[in-house]
């Protein structure tokens, strides 16, 4: 008995700021706590690891380095199989490097705007559309993990199964599940190391082999505004049907090519899934997508209306994006979005 207590005490100490999580927990009460720890862990921990990513018939390995901190989160993601690809998230921008054998594109800033509604921190909201359950324990990357199931309460979203590091809540394995619980997409660490400190240099220069590259393409800096877009206050568009729980997180208008057509971009999120609606004036250009298409783990549905391309995309079931696309109305006049 004493031994058990001692064991628990050690676990509690190891868990640091989450002492409760170190103790054996009654299942149902704690799934939410586990998710809170997961959010905290994915943002604040310093770590380095390797994982495999499986999507449909496709498998690949990636390496990740992450440095946590408030407003100072940095991350580098590198593909270990296939052509070298890289995403660096630092200094409020996302740089995608997609070198295809001899060419690298650098400086493709992705401006990160602060999220207006902090959905992830409001798990209560998430709970009205998903059911959280604590499952058993498992081992991932040689570490003890707690399995958590997130099941949607309706058919408009996908579910998840998560394997969280018992020490800190870090997600070490995850599976996106369809309505029959078949995995659509899976990720699993094979090696995970917590680090006391990650050197800033890790997030600075691209690791691509520069000898074999073309130099980076033209810069995007001047276009940051175009890429970010400007908030839309008046829109000609109305989205009739959005599954309950999806909150509008963004409504921007951006121009992809200066002097070209404007595109409206709306982002809806329920805290787990994200849906984008794009509205682009075609101006005689051919339609981009008509009908349904599967893009990796995402589903897309496209249609044209009044000379506009409507494109709805998100990591949700095909029926969801179709329903949303079908419900979009062009009011013609300017209406409040």
């Amino acid at each position: 008995m004493n031994r058990t207590l001692l064991h628990c005490a050690v676990l509690a100490l190891a868990a640091g700021s989450f002492p409760a999580a170190g103790w054996p927990q009654p299942p149902t009460a704690n799934a939410r706590q586990w998710l809170e720890r997961m959010i905290q862990a994915t943002q604040t921990l310093n770590y380095e690891g390797t994982f495999v990513y499986v999507q449909g018939p496709h498998i690949e390995a990636m390496h990740i380095v992450h440095s946590g901190g408030n407003d100072h989160e940095r991350q580098r993601l590198i593909s270990l199989s296939g052509p070298l690809r890289e995403v660096v998230v630092a200094n409020n921008s996302v740089i995608c490097l997609s070198p295809e054998r001899q060419a690298t594109v650098a400086g493709s800033d992705y401006p990160r705007s602060p999220f207006p509604v902090s959905i992830p921190s409001e798990l209560g909201q998430l709970e009205s559309h998903y059911e959280f359950t604590v499952l058993g324990e498992d081992r991932v990357a040689g570490l003890d993990t707690q399995m958590i199931a997130i099941r949607p309460k309706d058919t408009w979203r996908f579910g998840y199964r998560l394997w969280l590091d018992r020490r800190n809540g870090m997600v070490l394995r995850s599976a996106l599940l369809d309505d029959k619980d078949h995995p659509v997409e899976q990720l699993m660490f094979t090696d995970f190391q917590l680090k006391p400190h990650i050197d800033e240099a890790e997030f600075k220069t691209p690791t691509a082999p520069l000898e074999t590259q073309l130099p980076p393409g033209p810069p995007s800096g001047g276009n940051a505004k175009a890429a970010t877009g400007e908030p839309v206050t008046q829109s000609e568009w109305r989205i009739g049907q959005m599954p309950e729980g999806f909150i509008k997180a963004l409504h921007n208008r951006f121009v992809k090519t200066p002097g070209h057509r404007q595109t409206e971009h709306l982002v809806f999120a329920d805290g787990l899934a994200t849906i984008s609606v794009f509205l682009e004036k075609l101006d005689g250009a051919p339609a981009l997508l008509q009908g349904a298409s599967q893009l990796g783990s995402m589903n897309a549905f496209g249609m044209t209306l009044d000379g506009y391309q409507i494109l709805v995309v998100g990591e949700v079931p095909a029926a969801t994006v179709k329903r949303i696309a079908d419900s979009i109305q062009h009011t013609g006049g300017v209406a409040k979005p």
Binding site: H58, G82, P83, R101, P120, V171, S293, Q294, V313
Partner: protein
Amino acid sequence: MAEKTAEQLSAPVAADMNIELAASQLSAMVDEQLDAMEINLALRRLSRDGGLQARWERYHLISDALQGHLPDALDLSFAARIHQAIAAEPLPQPVARPLPAWYKPVTGFGLAASVALATLVGIRMNPPDAPTASAPLVSSTTPTPPASLAAAPVRSTTIPLQVAALNSSVNPLAAEPNAVRLNSYLVNHNGYASMNSVHSMLPYVRMVGYQTAGSNR
């Protein structure tokens, strides 16, 4: 270095400082010594300044000469001709045959890396003056053998073959723009998705993940 001295003598002080700064930045960039922010700045300047572009070529030539990477034959006007050719090039050629479904499970997941490359150029990198868009990319390749140079334009015209047919009714004329446009949407979507999900790492993984199939197809 002699060249720098000449500039110092002839140019007004402010401009001279600028040129020197830009030159040392370029030199550092050739030597892979610039960080991402500085690269951005240097590239913006590079895309505007023909003199700097010429300098960029020279630096690469020097670098290649020092490292023994020069080809047997060197065509110094090659970059300029590519530049002209691209400027004169019409919109993408029609693709004659119907294309296989894209991204469906049957044909596998994925998007050629070359497409992803085009995308990133397409969305993020439109410089204000469109005609020079491809100039830095192409001109800087001068010291490498022409064969590999030719690959860039060729690649861009083959992209539609892989990607166009999201839907067979789509006009083949639009093949390349469609791929580029669709990709830009996906990158956009995932960028925001990472900010709006409790699983903030996954959208970036998807971003990297669906840029693959090029080598695996």
